[in-house]
């Protein structure tokens, strides 16, 4: 298929992925739930971009939309996802399948259930390589190599074993190895460490950092763990209730956060508590309904420094520096007016 061939060719471009004005909603009995609204994210080549947000912010939906893995009741109403000169949203299933696992790979959150329990690790890794026209022996060698790359000892022997014979951390390594088998340009890691304990998490983060130099690809790292993002990522996108409310280089975001939400989020980090206190800091209030999205700034109801106009006018994204921007009226030249 001509388009499939074109889709698997690799072309140079400054950004590996360009998401523009993405709008995604889910059909429910109560009405459409607008989980992503006008989301725009750029992923430069060779960069690690972090997406940060609390549960329900839309981070996983964003990840699934890229590869077209949304459930049946999802509606992508507008926007584009540019990859390799194509808009992923406009591709057919066959074209998407050609991309999946080859040029774009994904690692999921729960390693205990993400792998096929009745197939050996090696068999699954060969399954993934089904499009390659090499011998099975060669594919096994590639698989063993990938396992070595993620630090699995005695890689050849492990190919014959089954997922349940490995610990959670090991399974996540296997999942990462699988995603790197065909040398993708973009690896989407959807909360890869959330289900792991702190030690394993540290190992996985370390692994990802090492791999970025090896594989020469980009990583989209999704997490609610600010510390992990700070450690690993080059730039950060902050997602709140389906909107990108701030994005910028990791240093800027953490040292000079622009948006009140980002500031509040950072303050909630127990590691930042300077003065002994009885209760942990939180952000008061709840995420608003995404079925009846309120007008104005999406954070207004919980914002400690909200202005009157925040309740009625939806803020534009305002650039503070070429790479750092936030959606907040407080940043506009007119300020509080």
């Amino acid at each position: 298929m001509a388009v499939t061939a074109a889709v698997t060719r690799r072309e140079p471009a400054s950004h590996v992925l360009a998401i523009r004005d993405l709008n995604v909603a889910f059909r429910t009995d109560a009405g459409p739930v607008r989980v992503l609204r006008d989301v725009s994210v750029d992923i430069p080549r060779g960069a690690i971009v972090g997406i940060v947000g609390e549960s329900g912010s839309g981070k996983s939906t964003l990840a699934l939309t890229i590869l077209g893995l949304l459930p049946g009741n999802a509606i992508v109403s507008s926007g584009s996802i540019g990859f390799g000169g194509h808009d992923l949203l406009g591709l057919s299933l066959a074209e998407l399948q050609a991309l999946r696992g080859t040029r774009i790979s994904m690692v999921f959150q729960d390693p205990m259930t993400s792998l096929n329990p009745v197939r050996s690790v090696g068999a699954q890794m060969l399954d993934i390589q089904y499009r390659a026209e090499q011998s099975n022996a060669r594919k096994r060698a590639i698989a063993a190599n990938a396992l070595k790359m993620v630090g699995m000892p005695d890689a050849e022997r492990q190919l014959a074993r089954y997922p349940h014979e490995f610990s959670g951390g090991m399974r996540q390594r296997i999942a990462i190895a699988m995603s790197l088998l065909q040398k993708p340009e973009l690896l989407i890691a959807d909360e890869p460490t959330t289900a792991l304990d702190v030690t394993m998490e540290a190992q996985i983060l370390h692994l990802l950092r090492e791999l970025r130099t090896e594989i020469n690809g980009s990583i989209l790292f999704i997490s609610h763990n600010l510390g992990a993002v700070a450690e690993l990522c080059d730039s950060v996108v902050v997602l709140y209730a389906g909107e990108v409310i701030e994005q910028g280089p990791v240093g800027d975001i953490f040292a000079r956060p622009l948006h009140p939400y980002t500031k509040a989020l950072l303050e909630c980090d127990p590691a930042r508590i300077a003065v002994a206190t009885r209760s942990l800091p939180t952000i008061k209030g709840d995420v608003p309904s995404l079925i009846d999205v309120p007008g104005g700034c999406i954070f207004a109801s919980r914002c400690p420094v909200a202005l009157p106009r925040c309740g009625s006018e939806h803020p534009e994204s305002i650039q503070r520096s070429p790479s750092h921007s936030a959606r907040c009226h407080l940043l506009s030249p007119s300020g509080g007016r």
Partner: protein, 314 residues
């Protein structure tokens, strides 16, 4: 692994034992002379006296139970007073026919039912799914002997395509196959529906699981996902449910064999029951008990073979 095997077979043996004890108890509880019951109505007083002596029917109960079980375990199922032959021989002559019937009946039911169930799960709420669903419920509930009779009416009597009676000429595979068509359909019809329902339910569950999502994320072809990532797992509870329902299969086999006058354990029991020939009934019943008691361990072994997680725990 060995312990697992022993456990499963042990359970089967326990069920067999319980059935034997219940059979024995039933025999003792029946009003009337045990000798008459066991020998059937044709027995003469001398035979009755002799059997009473032989089988120690006047011994204390525990001793009787012990000998009863002891004999069965050694393969002695008693003697048929009508033909003077050991019951175990009679059973062995008939058992293969029943096994073939069950295998073929269940075989084609699986060949039809499992894909139907898969298809219904993948294309749920389409016309085929709903139609299959209604058909399944319908065929499951209609008694197999009614199906058998109607099949005969249509294919044997009205159309004359297929033979009715017996299992066919020995050694003539074609003839035997022709004689198998209607009986196996009558036996398997309800099972197509049953299988498709449980496969559908199982598949729906498995298709929603994370590893299927991962497989899709790697672009694996849908057919491969269905085969190796979904069905391979969905089939496991199906096997267990089949083993549990094996009793129903044997019951249906009784009717089918009786109606088609096919040799087999079912027909054996029915004919003997009609003649109050208890030893043969007992032999047939115990064989049936053994068969379905074995179904559980066999299915367990099958699952262990298919599911590496179970293998690891052994």
């Amino acid at each position: 692994m060995l312990i697992y095997a022993i456990q499963r077979i042990g359970l089967a043996i326990l069920i067999c034992l319980t059935s034997m004890v219940m059979l024995f108890t039933a025999l003792k509880l029946i009003p009337g002379d045990p000798a008459t019951i066991m020998l059937g109505s044709r027995a003469s007083p001398e035979m009755k006296a002799r059997i009473t002596e032989e089988l120690g029917l006047n011994d204390p109960i525990p001793v009787q139970l012990g000998t009863f079980i002891g004999r069965i375990v050694q393969g002695d199922l008693g003697t048929d007073m009508w033909s003077r032959r050991p019951v175990s021989w009679i059973v062995m002559e008939n058992l293969p026919y029943t096994l073939i019937l069950i295998a073929v009946g269940l075989g084609w039911a699986a060949l039809l039912g499992i894909p139907l169930g898969c298809y219904s799960a993948i294309r749920r709420n389409t016309f085929i799914d709903k139609f299959t669903g209604v058909l399944s419920v319908g065929t499951i509930s209609i008694p197999s002997f009614v199906v058998a009779i109607y099949l005969i009416l249509l294919f044997a009597i009205e159309l004359g395509w297929l033979p009715v009676i017996g299992a066919g000429e020995k050694g003539d595979w074609g003839d035997q196959a022709r004689h198998l068509v209607m009986p196996s359909i009558a036996l398997g019809l309800g099972w197509v529906g049953y299988l498709s329902r449980i496969v559908r339910a199982s598949m729906l569950e498995v298709m929603g699981e994370n590893h299927v999502r991962t497989a899709r994320a790697f672009g694996l072809p849908e057919l491969k996902i269905i085969r190796s990532y979904a069905l391979r797992i969905a089939i496991l509870p199906t096997i267990t449910l089949l083993a549990v329902a094996i009793g129903g299969l044997l019951s249906s086999a009784v009717f089918v064999e009786a109606i088609f006058a096919r040799p087999g354990i079912g027909k054996l029991i029915v004919d003997a029951a009609n003649m109050r020939n208890f030893p043969v009934v007992q032999g047939g019943v115990l064989t049936t008990v053994a068969l379905f008691a074995l179904a559980m361990p066999i299915s367990d072994f099958l699952i262990a073979w298919l599911d590496p997680r179970v293998r690891s725990t052994l």
